[in-house]
């Protein structure tokens, strides 16, 4: 039942926030904040209850689930379930949601109520994506997060917001429709094989499929998630959308929306179509390293701060894709940690750039410079998160990317070497960001206010979380390990006798043991 609350609270609070605007200007902000804090408490309660990830049923790692009949005739259920992976991603969603509300406290002055309605609904949609275990319901949430996100970019964004929002929407919508066709293809084939109409994820796992059909269906899912993640040739919406969105929009996009892509790959692409995914793995891994290197190189060439951070996302999420398709326990753990850490570090960077833009009305690095003396706290925070983003040991991103590389190394040496080049480039862009924006002479004589208490309040927890992930990630690893083991088991059970390596052989050999 808690799962329903997790989604229901933001939806209801969104409507209240919209209505509250008429009553007092700040009401919608406070309503949103309170609702998200309530969500956070619920998620933490779940975590505390299931700490260590004890599972009752072997190979089914659900902590808790809700399963109601929804559309009986289609075999669709309102089926929400949570395992360690979902829990962590929901926590990320709620925390970044709170950060987004705080970050837009001053920035959003027009249409405040509607802004918070959209913000809360996009969060509800994302939470639903992380929890849905019925493919129709999943698609429902998957689409439900799009419209509010579109509004967040198109109404409260910067100069070219309509262009960026439309591009974002069309990319995601086309790929989503391909996924819908794949979902329905799977649904029909499952019926042909078993005589049962169902969208239930656990039931659909292991549907016998001819190899070529499986490949097409897998690609349908893959494209949808690859656009979100984003994977190299499908990423072009991302720099525009991230740059033109308001601060909260960028935080939600980079911190959360991209994660739905990674989550979808983990939860659906590989378990539903293990053999096809295995055959496709080399291509995916090559695309991943191209993304890593390309994103980093593009980031080096940017002068717009937001665009720079946006391209770093392409690079970082490349590691996630790499880890997922390497599909061994190390790489998978790395992929999940990388998703979480990227959410916090990039979210924080966007919040900082937003704070800077609010003060200076520019995002051009060339027009900044010499800010360290003026705003030491803001500059220090920027340095911290830039270092986190480049993968400094001791911070969260490092653990994620290191584990991914370690896992990939076992599968393919060449890919690993190229990926390391990406890390190297990340050092340059991170340092360049700090150097050009905050050091050097203060040529324009900026004199602006340093971080306000509200901003410190939102950045400090992110620093602590990144330190925690970097220094003592064990509790987090423990939380999602059973979930990953269950996924790996699902896959290895299906491929069982097939000639294997990579995706399947690893899981069989190591049985999901951690470092």
């Amino acid at each position: 039942m808690i799962l329903v609350w997790l989604i229901g609270i933001p939806i209801v609070a969104g409507v209240l926030a919209w209505a509250g605007e008429k009553w007092r200007a700040d009401a919608s902000r406070w309503i949103s904040l309170v609702a998200l804090c309530a969500d956070l408490v619920l998620a933490l309660i779940l975590w505390a209850r299931h700490h260590g990830g004890v599972t009752l049923v072997p190979n089914v790692a659900w902590f808790t689930e809700v399963n109601w009949l929804w559309i009986a005739r289609w075999g669709a259920h309102f089926h929400l379930a949570m395992d360690g992976l979902s829990l962590l991603l929901v926590l990320l969603t709620v925390v970044l949601g709170i950060i987004s509300v705080l970050a837009s406290w001053r920035e959003i002055q027009d249409g405040t109520g509607f802004f918070h309605l959209n913000l809360l609904w996009v969060l509800a949609g994302i939470t639903g994506v992380f929890l849905a275990e019925d493919l129709l319901l999943f698609y429902f949430f998957w689409e439900m997060m799009l419209i509010p996100m579109y509004f967040l970019i198109a109404i409260w964004g910067h100069e070219r917001r309509v262009y960026a929002a439309t591009k974002f929407f069309l990319f995601t919508q086309l790929s989503s429709l391909l996924m819908l066709i794949a979902i329905l293809g799977l649904y029909v084939l499952h019926h042909t094989a078993t005589g049962m109409w169902t969208f239930d994820y656990p039931a659909l796992i292991g549907t016998p499929l001819p190899p070529n059909t499986a490949m097409f269906l897998m690609l349908g899912f893959f494209v949808a998630f690859a656009v979100k993640l984003p994977v190299f040739p499908l990423h072009t919406w991302l720099p525009d959308a991230h740059t033109e969105a308001s601060t909260a929009g960028s935080i939600v996009l980079a911190g959360l929306l991209l994660k739905t892509g990674g989550y979808g790959m983990l939860r659906f692409v590989v378990p539903l179509f293990p053999e096809a995914a295995h055959r496709f793995a080399p291509v995916a891994m090559v695309l991943a390293v191209i993304g890593i290197v390309y994103g980093a190189l593009m980031a080096l060439g940017q002068s717009d701060l937001k665009r720079l951070v946006a391209y770093t996302s392409v690079s970082h999420l490349g590691f996630v894709l790499l880890g997922i398709f390497a599909w061994n326990s190390l790489a998978l753990q790395g992929a999940v940690v990388a998703m979480l850490a990227h959410g916090f570090s990039t979210g924080a960077l966007f919040a900082l750039v937003g704070a800077l833009q609010e003060r200076t009305h520019t995002r051009e690095m060339d027009r900044l410079g010499g800010l360290w003396a003026v705003v030491p706290r803001l500059s220090g925070a920027a340095l911290f998160f830039a270092l986190a983003s480049m993968g400094l040991p001791g911070l969260g991103d490092f653990i994620g990317e290191f584990l991914v590389l370690l896992g990939t190394y076992r599968e393919h040496l060449g890919v690993t070497i190229v990926a390391v080049i990406g890390i190297l480039a990340s050092t340059f862009y991170a340092l360049q960001l700090v150097q050009r924006a905050f050091h050097g002479p203060n040529a324009r004589h900026w004199s602006i206010r340093d971080l306000l208490p509200r901003e410190i309040l939102m950045l400090a927890p992110m620093m602590l979380i990144l330190l925690w992930l970097g220094l003592w990630p064990q509790p987090v690893l423990d939380t999602f390990r059973p979930a990953m083991a269950a996924l790996q088991h699902t896959v290895s059970r299906q491929v069982g006798s097939a000639p294997t390596s990579g995706i399947t052989g690893e899981a069989v050999a190591r049985g999901g043991g951690g470092p």
Binding site: Q109, T166, F169, L174, L177, L184
Partner: protein, 481 residues
């Protein structure tokens, strides 16, 4: 005809009766409110009469008409849609000069025509229904005859519809000449008996029939009237054309071509495939060029009937249900969208430019929310019925493995997003802070219209989130075919 026959036809009789009563009433005492009341009463009674009719269904009444579960469902849909149109008309025509009373007579007649279409099993009733519908529609389209555009649209519709009716009649004659029957079931039987659909005369007849039906549905290449009539006709009348007229025709298409298995004939299947693909492509691509909301909706309706034909062609276990659900969603959506347009229009002109909607959300949040929901439903976005409708169609297509068609459907509906988003973004543009200089059009909204569009929006979300009840009804209806 015995008692059961009368009971079965009661909805049709009441609709026709209401038209006569309204006409006589106008001659005696001209009053907008009174005519409206009689019209609504007639329609509500007709709707209530569906229940006794259902108790005797399925029943073949004379060789011409059949009242079965399929017909009953579509009758219900048409009557409810007509009630919505009537309520919208009240608010709309109160703002225009001239008499509004005859409008309701015409609406009732057109509805009767559509009701005959969904119940007909014979070429004669088919043609009679079509003509009752069409003739009333000519007058309805040009109802505001002092304005140039409605008049132009009415004449255009008259010329094209009359010629398409001629095609249809010729097609019927050819089929009759070859098979010696005009009843749908007999046609099916004779084809099954081995005459086959091979004869050139029979195929020519089928082609002419498809032309006539395709014209009424506004599918490519018979779509040329659609944008002009949509644009020219008063908004509530456009809603009528888009829903009741086209919906009745599609029900007939289902009954005719499914009843006799005609869609399985390769050449006919091919023709419908081409029409479907062309409609999806042309409708969506031409809509991109438009800035007039009514024209956009016209082209989008062409595309939507292309989608419907995909389900029609899929012809699996799902097809009839998918088509029917999609039509329900499409009815609600179209009525809602044109309802909002009608409410924003005034006595001078239609609110049909995209610019009329700029910043609407910040001025009239409820109206804008309804309008956005309708547009999103047309675009097939979740929590609206339009999404589940599109979903159902793709499911029907997938179960029949017509992959090429559903991929075209997916790609073209993404093209469609461009123009839907353009409307949506206009509705939400110009934040309140920026909208200071704008002169909002002063409008007095009629309560009836406002209530209607809000009810439509509620239905839209209800069917989009929890469609189980309506799906059960549709299953019964589809089983009746």
């Amino acid at each position: 005809m015995n008692g059961a026959d009368w009971t079965a036809l009661l909805p049709l009789i009441l609709t026709g009766g209401a038209a006569i009563v309204a006409m006589v009433l106008i001659a005696v005492h001209r009053s907008h409110g009174l005519t409206l009341g009689v019209t609504l009463l007639g329609l509500v009674l007709a709707f209530v009469a569906l229940r006794p009719a259902a108790s005797v269904a399925p029943l073949q009444v004379t060789p011409l008409l059949i009242v079965d579960d399929f017909a009953l469902f579509y009758l219900g849909m048409i009557i409810i849609a007509c009630i919505a149109v009537v309520l919208l008309c009240h608010g709309y025509f109160a703002k225009c000069e001239g008499h509004a009373e005859e409008l309701y007579v015409l609406l009732l007649l057109a509805t009767l025509g559509s009701e005959i279409l969904v119940t007909s099993t014979h070429f004669v009733s088919f043609f009679l229904g079509l003509e009752i519908l069409s003739v009333a529609l000519y007058a309805l389209t040009a109802y505001l005859h002092t304005r140039a555009r409605p008049l132009e649209a009415g004449i255009k519709y008259l010329v094209l519809a009359a010629s398409s009716a001629a095609f249809l009649l010729f097609g019927m004659a050819l089929v009759y000449a070859e098979l010696g029957t005009m009843q749908f079931r007999d046609i099916a039987d004779r084809i099954a008996l081995g005459t086959g659909l091979h004869g050139a005369v029979l195929l020519a007849g089928a082609a002419l029939l498809i032309t006539g039906i395709g014209f009424k549905l506004g599918v490519v290449p018979f779509h040329l009237w659609t944008p002009d009539v949509y644009e020219g006709a008063p908004a509530p009348v456009t809603a009528f054309v888009a829903t009741i007229s086209k919906g009745g025709m599609f029900a007939l298409l289902l009954r005719f071509f499914y009843g006799n298995g005609g869609y399985r004939v390769p050449s006919i299947y091919l023709v419908f495939t081409i029409i479907a693909v062309a409609s999806m492509l042309v409708g969506n691509l031409l809509a991109l060029q438009q800035r007039n909301v009514k024209r956009i909706l016209a082209y989008s309706s062409i595309a939507h009937f292309g989608y419907l034909l995909v389900a029609f062609l899929a012809a699996g276990a799902f097809a009839v249900q998918a088509v029917t659900f999609y039509l329900v969603a499409y009815f609600i959506t179209t009525l809602g969208a044109f309802g909002v347009i009608a409410m924003l229009s005034d006595g001078e002109r239609e609110a049909d430019d995209v610019d009329d909607y700029r910043g609407l959300f910040w001025r009239r949040p409820m109206l804008a929310t309804v309008f956005t929901l309708m547009i999103l439903s047309l675009a097939g976005i979740p929590i609206t019925a339009g999404f589940l409708g599109k979903f159902f169609i793709i499911a029907a297509g997938a179960s029949a493995a017509v992959w090429a068609l559903i991929i075209i459907l997916a790609v073209t509906s993404v093209i469609g997003l461009f123009y839907y988003l353009r409307i949506v973004i206009a509705v939400f543009s110009a934040l309140p802070g920026e909208a200071e200089g704008m002169q909002p059009r002063v409008l007095s909204l009629s309560a009836a219209s406002a209530g209607t569009v809000i009810v439509l929006a509620v239905l839209l979300v209800w069917f989009g989130v929890y469609p189980a009840p309506i799906l059960n009804l549709i299953q019964v209806a589809a089983g009746g075919l």
